[in-house]
């Protein structure tokens, strides 16, 4: 887990900062590929690590991420929210949904934003631990509250991740998954074009 925490060295951009950070992002330090999360989001390469930045505007949104593993794949999942006073009670939840995952408990099933499809299991993170892990993201100097990473073996085949906010309040979040860094295709460069999403 600490390896993953240390790995939270992602996103950035612009000018000399951009150049330096691009160098850092391509360094041996493990890092997540940053991207802006869409409500309906396809994870094109789920085998690499991602930091997906989303925002609840109305609070009613349910983000749905889709991906497919060619073979069984073990990876950690984590929900991060900015360590700010206005996010102190902001605790988005997520569920990893796939065939072959365990049956959720009754409480977890009731917490889901929609019914679980037949034949599907789920890992449900209720993000309700009173004491939250604090994570320092050192590249962009951000501080986050974490749901604490959960490692999960996901069976081969399609899977979905649902993200929702039971309190229906607005707020920013970053959903992190995976370990293996890969910035191929210039993906990290996009960070520099959207500074306000990833930093201040």
């Amino acid at each position: 887990m600490s390896g993953l925490i240390r790995s939270l060295r992602f996103r950035v951009r612009r000018g000399w900062v951009g150049g330096t950070l691009a160098l850092l992002l391509s360094s041996p330090a493990v890092a997540h590929m940053p991207a802006v999360l869409k409500t309906e989001h396809v994870i094109e390469r789920p085998e690499i690590s991602w930091a997906l930045y989303g925002r609840f505007v109305s609070g009613d949104e349910v983000y749905r991420l889709k991906g497919t593993y060619e073979k069984p794949f073990a990876l950690p999942f984590e929900m991060l929210v900015p360590h700010r006073d206005d996010h102190r009670r902001f605790r988005p939840r997520f569920a990893v949904v796939a065939a072959g995952l365990p049956e959720p408990t009754t409480a977890e099933r009731e917490a889901l934003p929609k019914p679980l499809p037949a034949g599907q299991g789920a890992l449900v993170e209720l993000n309700d631990d009173p004491d939250r892990l604090v994570v320092f993201e050192s590249v962009l100097r951000r501080m986050y509250w974490s749901s604490t990473p959960i490692a999960l073996p996901v069976p081969a085949g399609p899977f979905e991740i649902w993200i929702w906010n039971p309190d229906r309040t607005s707020g920013d979040f970053t959903f992190a998954l995976g370990v293996e860094e890969d910035f191929g295709g210039g993906g990290a460069a996009g960070v520099f074009e959207d500074w306000g999403t990833y930093a201040y």
């Binding site: 360094s27 320092f136 050192s138 590249v139 100097r141 501080m143 930093a199």
Partner: protein, 170 residues
């Protein structure tokens, strides 16, 4: 418009005083071995704002370029408090001139503090550049920019901008 001899004398005295205060000789007279600065810093990477007082010591003779810089900061942003402590070298040029450019480099212990977790700290290296603009006597307006790089336990970069006041101690 006619002015009285007293008024003319007063105006001339003020002008003379200003000229002396702004002259290179006057500036050199104020340049002791120590000077203090109180710039306000804004960090562009990780948004924090706060004072970063600094003490400069010139170990050499008057007019020499090299100074030792010691600086402590207390900066605050929406996510954490930032407390950097720096030790470095600063080269100040054009002694006695009204506009004095400077460059510098050094090491910095950077500590990031939140109330519900242990502090995060890392050792970084900074560069700096800027100008001191003499306002009057030993008082200067200081403008600085300082990038930094940390490669230790928490990899990262930073970029600080500072504006404030510096005073040469006699």
């Amino acid at each position: 418009m006619r002015t009285s001899p007293c008024s003319r004398a007063a105006v001339m005295s003020l002008l003379a005083a200003a000229a002396i205060a702004l002259s290179p000789r006057a500036a050199l007279a104020h340049e002791g071995a120590f000077s203090v600065g109180v710039p306000i810093e804004i960090d562009v990477v990780g948004f924090v704002v706060g004072p970063r007082p600094e003490l400069l010591w010139r170990p050499g003779s008057a007019g020499s370029v090299s100074h030792v810089r010691v600086a402590l900061g207390a900066l605050f942003g929406p996510e954490y408090g930032y407390f950097p402590a720096a030790l470095g070298w600063r080269g100040r040029f054009r002694h006695g001139a009204r506009v004095q450019p400077f460059v510098g480099a050094g090491a910095e212990l950077q500590t990031f503090v939140v109330l519900d977790a242990p502090p995060y700290w890392r050792l970084g290296w900074y560069l700096e550049g800027g100008v001191d603009v003499r306002l009057i006597g030993a008082h200067h307006l200081t403008l600085q920019v300082a990038p930094d790089l940390s490669v230790g336990n928490h990899l990262g970069v930073g970029l600080s901008t500072r504006i404030g006041w510096r005073f040469d101690l006699d």
